[in-house]
């Protein structure tokens, strides 16, 4: 990235765009005894990356991401790194869902250089963008290419403002094999204004975070409205980190959680650059304190409508010095008293598995559960299957309650060998209180021997299916997006009051492909060379060798006698 020439304008006369940073942590005790912690760091900056003037003065917004947005004409960018699988039936719905591995989806801007029909232009930008992001996040995102990129037509609508709906500007890719470790957390933490030195980010210690059942970190960039009239747009950067700590791994089986037990650190101050820094503890299931008790007690309570339900939270405001008490550090303690009560069942969840036997064919089964007692709702199922599993779309069946369930919208793009994967998008109506099963048969392809990974017997991954839906909500959702709300309730935009948006990811599949024996080229070369050397060599020698009769050399006595006879002039023996 080149540096612009120094401007001669007096910096104090140019109005600096306003930027704002908020951080929050939501802790939700789960019924299984585990605990779910969700960090969210949000930077809003009133600036325009797209217009001609280059932005050069960055304060809270990280410069590396700002340059990515302006260079690649990005309108929305969502990238997540996840280790583990979110168990919806035991843990409920997450605040920000993500599939195992790495997931990246980007909406590009319709810039002057890239018109819609110059499809190669967006592809070229996509390739460069994935390379740049792989350097920023220390991940192998450069493996994203045309063989695992799709353009979903309906499942991934923009989450920010904008009127771009042509799906040719959208790119979606997953890397289910991607490992998440400290080397991804380190650059993620460096994007925060306070780094990991102050505020809630001091809790992010990798040794505890990765010793958990689920860990997901994500970066979401989108344009948002600043006020109700939406006269000015600002850019919003949300960095989210969701982690579920296991009762037996992290708490040694005792149902008692504290910040120190979860993160091996306590809090001493808020980030000085943050305008708000809060901790929310979900106490909805504990109205009178009979299930668990939270200490230190706090008088602040807050109610928010999130995920279709009205939840009550105890709030700890870190910008107030009184929160830290006399010891000047905050260590929240949640102690369980009884383990009764059941959890609100999630309305939508899904499973997926591979059926069949052998290395020739197989069947992918996707099951979607609608747990609502009397309401049915439509879901969008997005399936992206790599080209080496050749789907037989004529065997696609969708059944609910034993009967055929015809999808009202199907968008299918067949794969091209070594060029692009299968893309299947369907709008399916799920009847109330039922299981809908989608099955499709496939055949496994034989790859070229250079296309195998160094460990092919591990298997090949198929990315998670994505199920997006507007699920009916119990309470009225808040459609005013610009009102002051906790960050976790304003992640997904709400267009209507009676339903809320939910995205569920299934498990990724691990499929074995027929694997050759990689030592065979060496064996064949050895065998062929031996046969040629022995067989042809012998034949050649037999044909071309000529035989001569040779006298055997005489013994020593005879040689001396011959010398004497030669001296005498007599013929030799």
């Amino acid at each position: 990235f080149d540096t612009s020439a120094p401007e001669t304008v007096d910096p104090s006369s140019v109005p600096q765009p306003k930027d704002d940073f908020q951080e929050e942590l939501v802790i939700r005790p789960l019924h299984s005894g585990d605990i779910y912690a969700s960090f969210q760091f949000r930077t809003v900056w009133e600036t325009d990356f797209m217009r001609g003037n280059k932005v050069s003065h960055y304060r809270l917004f990280p410069k590396s991401l700002g340059q990515v947005i302006s260079k690649f004409s990005v309108r929305e960018l969502h990238i997540s790194f996840t280790q583990g699988y979110w168990r919806t039936m035991q843990w409920g719905q997450p605040f920000q869902p993500s599939p195992p591995g790495a997931e990246l989806w980007v909406w590009f801007q319709d810039s002057a250089e890239c018109k819609v029909y110059a499809a190669g232009c967006v592809d070229g930008t996509w390739k460069e963008l994935t390379n740049v992001l792989s350097g920023i996040f220390c991940a192998s995102l450069n493996f994203i290419d045309s063989t695992n990129t799709v353009q979903p037509s309906a499942s991934f609508k923009p989450l920010g403002i904008g009127n771009e709906t042509d799906h040719r500007f959208l790119r979606y890719a997953t890397l289910p094999r991607e490992i998440v470790c400290t080397e991804n957390l380190t650059p993620w933490k460096k994007l925060l204004p306070c780094g990991s030195k102050a505020g809630l980010a001091v809790l992010l210690k990798s040794e505890k975070l990765f010793h958990s059942s689920f860990h997901s970190q994500a970066v979401h960039i989108r344009p948002v409205c600043q006020d109700w009239q939406c006269k000015t747009t600002s850019w919003e950067l949300r960095q989210t980190l969701n982690v579920v700590f296991d009762l037996h791994n992290s708490a040694q089986g005792k149902r008692e959680w504290s910040l120190f037990k979860m993160f091996s650190r306590t809090l001493t101050e808020a980030c000085p650059l943050a305008s708000s820094s809060k901790i929310y503890i979900d106490i909805t299931d504990n109205p009178q304190g009979e299930q668990f008790e939270v200490s230190p007690a706090t008088p602040l309570l807050s109610q928010a409508v999130v995920l279709g339900d009205r939840r009550t939270f105890s709030v700890y405001d870190l910008t107030q010095q009184i929160t830290f008490g006399t010891v000047r550090s905050l260590n929240l303690l949640i102690r369980w008293k009884s383990s009764e009560g059941d959890m609100l069942r999630p309305l939508l969840h899904a499973e997926r598995y591979v059926a069949g036997y052998g290395l020739q064919t197989g069947e992918i089964h996707t099951l979607m559960y609608n747990n609502h007692p009397y309401r049915s709702f439509p879901v969008l199922l997005l399936d992206s299957v790599p080209w080496y599993l050749r789907l037989y779309i004529h065997t696609l069946t969708v059944t609910s309650k034993g009967k055929d369930n015809k999808p009202s919208y199907i968008h299918y793009q067949p794969s091209k060998d070594r060029l692009r994967p299968h893309l299947l998008e369907m709008l399916v109506q799920l009847p109330p209180n039922s299981v809908t099963e989608v099955t499709v048969q496939f055949e496994r392809a034989l790859l070229k021997w250079t296309e195998y990974t160094p460990d092919p017997n591990h298997g090949f991954y198929v990315g998670s299916s994505v199920i997006s839906s507007l699920v009916p909500s119990i309470v009225a959702m808040d459609t005013n997006s610009t009102r002051e709300r906790p960050l976790f309730s304003s992640f997904f935009p709400c267009k209507e009051e009676s339903s809320y948006f939910v995205r569920v990811y299934t498990e990724p599949l691990l499929v074995n492909l027929p694997t050759p024996d990689f030592s065979m080229p060496y064996n064949v070369i050895c065998l062929t060379c031996t046969v040629v050397a022995v067989g042809y060599g012998s034949l050649y020698n037999l044909l071309t060798r000529s035989f001569q009769i040779e006298e055997p050399s005489p013994g020593l006595a005879k040689r001396i006698a011959n010398i004497i006879r030669k001296m005498r002039g007599v013929p030799p023996l």
């Binding site: 493996f143 998440v180 080397e183 460990d455």
Partner: protein, 367 residues
């Protein structure tokens, strides 16, 4: 005799021509024998440091190779080389491997004394990206244009580069990820490409594999120093297993190298001769080897921090220093040719002797 006087005369002329040419060639360096103060800053010849640390093994039982690489990474970072100047390539993930009983840690000493993975680590090439092709492209700089900066070796002709390789190897090759090899000839050619493109000032090559000395046998570019953990025909052995983790944690050579480097701090004056003594046969079981014939400077004058650290000499001064004389390095030693005057004098001598012996009548045949 006329011959003897002519002969003495010829010898005198020849010596005169020879000495004159010798002095004109070598006199320039005599002028710069006395350096001024600023000259001492450039006595080592390098202005920046880079490190390329590669672990080439996959699978959980090769935990020790990742621990080797990370311990060198840790030392190099501690002595001052920043992440932007380190290209770290790990072929597999051990820290967050599902078999690791303590996630996000890689230990080098048993009983989990030292976590070399740490909390601040940036891996540039990981997993399937660690291939022979990518390694050679990083060295020679021939990367696709969209490669990010953190994955490039942006060295210049004043960079000192440390290259550390570890994994499984044999006589003349190093195995990458159980599926391909790099041979010592390829490596030597890559270094020659780097030299031709002036991508390094001095290069230190350390390899910790079985029969590691075979990898530096074929080097032919100048300014290379190489160390290996074992000679041809010997195996490098691993150090000690940890019963809780279940695998061997480090290789012996790198374990003692780490212990040696832990005593180094940015201001230490230890030199390469101490590095050559690391891990003698009694500790390592294999015989470590080294090669310094291609290196210009004497290894005793090369500091450890010239390669492992990024030491900047900062001296605050109040006086003005005039840099009018260009600071010249000692001219790089080319192959020695006899001076031109010598050859001229020799031929004159030969011709005069010839014509004296066989008479002057042959002269007219020449002119």
């Amino acid at each position: 005799m006329i011959l003897s006087t002519t002969l003495e005369f010829c010898i005198f002329i020849y010596l005169l021509i020879f000495s004159f040419s010798y002095f004109t060639l070598h006199s320039c360096c005599l002028l710069y024998l006395c350096f001024d103060n600023a000259g001492q800053f450039f006595s080592s010849g390098h202005t920046n440091n880079w490190a390329v640390l590669v672990c080439t093994s996959r699978f959980w039982f090769n935990y020790r190779h990742v621990a080797n690489t990370l311990s060198v990474y840790r030392s190099v970072k501690r002595l001052g080389i920043p992440d932007s100047h380190i290209v770290l390539m790990l072929a597999d993930d051990m820290a967050c491997n599902h078999r690791n009983p303590k996630p996000a840690t890689v230990f080098s000493h048993k009983n989990m004394e030292l976590n070399v993975y740490g909390d601040d680590v940036e891996v540039d090439y990981r997993g399937y990206e660690v291939t022979v092709e990518n390694f050679l492209r990083v060295l020679t700089g021939r990367l696709p244009p969209s490669t990010p900066r953190s994955k490039r070796l942006l060295s210049d002709d004043r960079s000192n580069i440390l290259i550390y390789l570890t994994g499984h190897g044999g006589n003349g090759f190093l195995k990458f990820q159980d599926s391909e090899e790099i041979s010592n000839v390829e490596l030597a050619d890559a270094f020659e490409q780097m030299w031709q493109k002036r991508r390094y000032n001095e290069l230190l090559f350390i390899i910790d594999t079985c029969q590691g000395a075979s990898m530096y046998e074929r080097f032919y570019s100048p300014n290379l120093m190489a160390l290996a953990s074992s000679q041809v025909g010997e195996d490098s052995l691993s150090h000690q297993p940890d019963l809780a983790i279940g695998v061997h944690l480090m290789d012996r050579y790198t374990f003692y190298l780490l212990e040696f480097l832990e005593d180094i701090h940015p201001a230490s004056k230890t030199n390469m001769n101490d590095l050559f003594k690391v891990c003698p046969k009694s500790q390592c079981v294999s015989t470590p080897g080294h090669r310094t014939d291609l290196f210009l400077r004497d290894p005793g004058s090369v500091l450890i921090t010239d390669f492992f650290g990024s030491v900047r000499k900062v001296e605050i001064t109040m006086e003005t220093i005039n840099l009018t004389d260009p600071i010249k390095q000692k001219p790089k030693q080319k192959d020695w040719h006899p001076p031109d005057g010598f050859i001229l004098g020799l031929w004159t001598l030969i011709l005069l002797v010839f014509f004296k012996l066989y008479g002057m009548k042959h002269l007219k045949h020449i002119f």
